[in-house]
């Protein structure tokens, strides 16, 4: 399964209002779930952040967790209009956030495979200075698709 097929334009916000890390996580979760399910996911994501920031460096963060609140792998993406503090490992602000939530058990461990893929794609976006390039969610999905194919060709 390719990453682009897991993305939907409704869950890509390229004009995310800057805010605290918790607010950004909440915003992205609420594009996937509402109510007590959303609260459960936010709580688990924040507990994961307590273990160490998922800000992997070079402007990118990938908050992630498994939760009973979802039945399939769900992804939302946000690009903040101004970089935000995410306590990233390189101590630099973050502007692109991929948020991943997976059910507790998923066939073929799609969660960890997808997580690994996103890390790889995100690093490629940074390397090629592509984070700010897409102007619409459709362009963002097309770009992810292209990067994913390019990585696939190199293997």
């Amino acid at each position: 399964m390719n990453l682009a097929s897991l993305l939907s334009k409704e869950r890509i916000n390229l004009e995310l209002k800057p805010g605290k890390k918790e607010e950004i996580i909440k915003d992205l979760v609420y594009s996937i779930k509402k109510g007590s399910d959303a609260e459960l996911i936010v709580s688990t994501l924040l507990k994961r952040e307590e273990l160490g920031s998922t800000g992997i460096g070079k402007s990118i963060a990938i908050p992630h967790c498994r939760s009973l609140a979802v039945e399939k792998l769900e992804i939302s993406v946000g690009r903040t209009t101004k970089p935000i503090n995410f306590n990233a490992i390189d101590k630099k602000p973050v502007s692109l956030i991929f948020l991943i939530i997976a059910p507790p058990q998923d066939p073929g461990n799609q969660y960890l495979i997808t997580l690994g893929k996103i890390v790889q794609i995100a690093k490629e976006m940074t390397k090629k200075n592509l984070i700010q390039k897409p102007q619409t969610p459709e362009e963002f999905i097309t770009l992810i698709n292209k990067i994913e194919k390019d990585i696939g060709k190199r293997k």
Binding site: S36, L40, S43, K47, E50, A69, G116
Partner: protein, 113 residues
Amino acid sequence: MSDVIEMHLKLLFDLDTLLADLEEPVYKKIGFKIGDTERMALLGRRSDLLKKLPREIAEVYEMLKKRYQQAIAPVENGFCFGCFQQLPTQLLTRSKEVTTCPNCGRILYWREK
């Protein structure tokens, strides 16, 4: 079961899943390495959460976790999604009491629609 107990049980379950993922070699290979101090702190949070549950429910949860790993299971279309057995009709209505599957014993919850 009450909303508060259900929320605590779900949180506990998500926390256990998180702790299990930290041990996955694939997870470490991706680059997410977690220190022992942070892991211990998370275990402390787990212990706090367990204390918030009524003792008998906490004990059932721990026993089921040892037996199945997944101690709680959703009800879907009249089935326990832990053991995939059909549930008796009287258990299909959401109750304020903690409901367990008569076949596998897992604590049942209803998904939000």
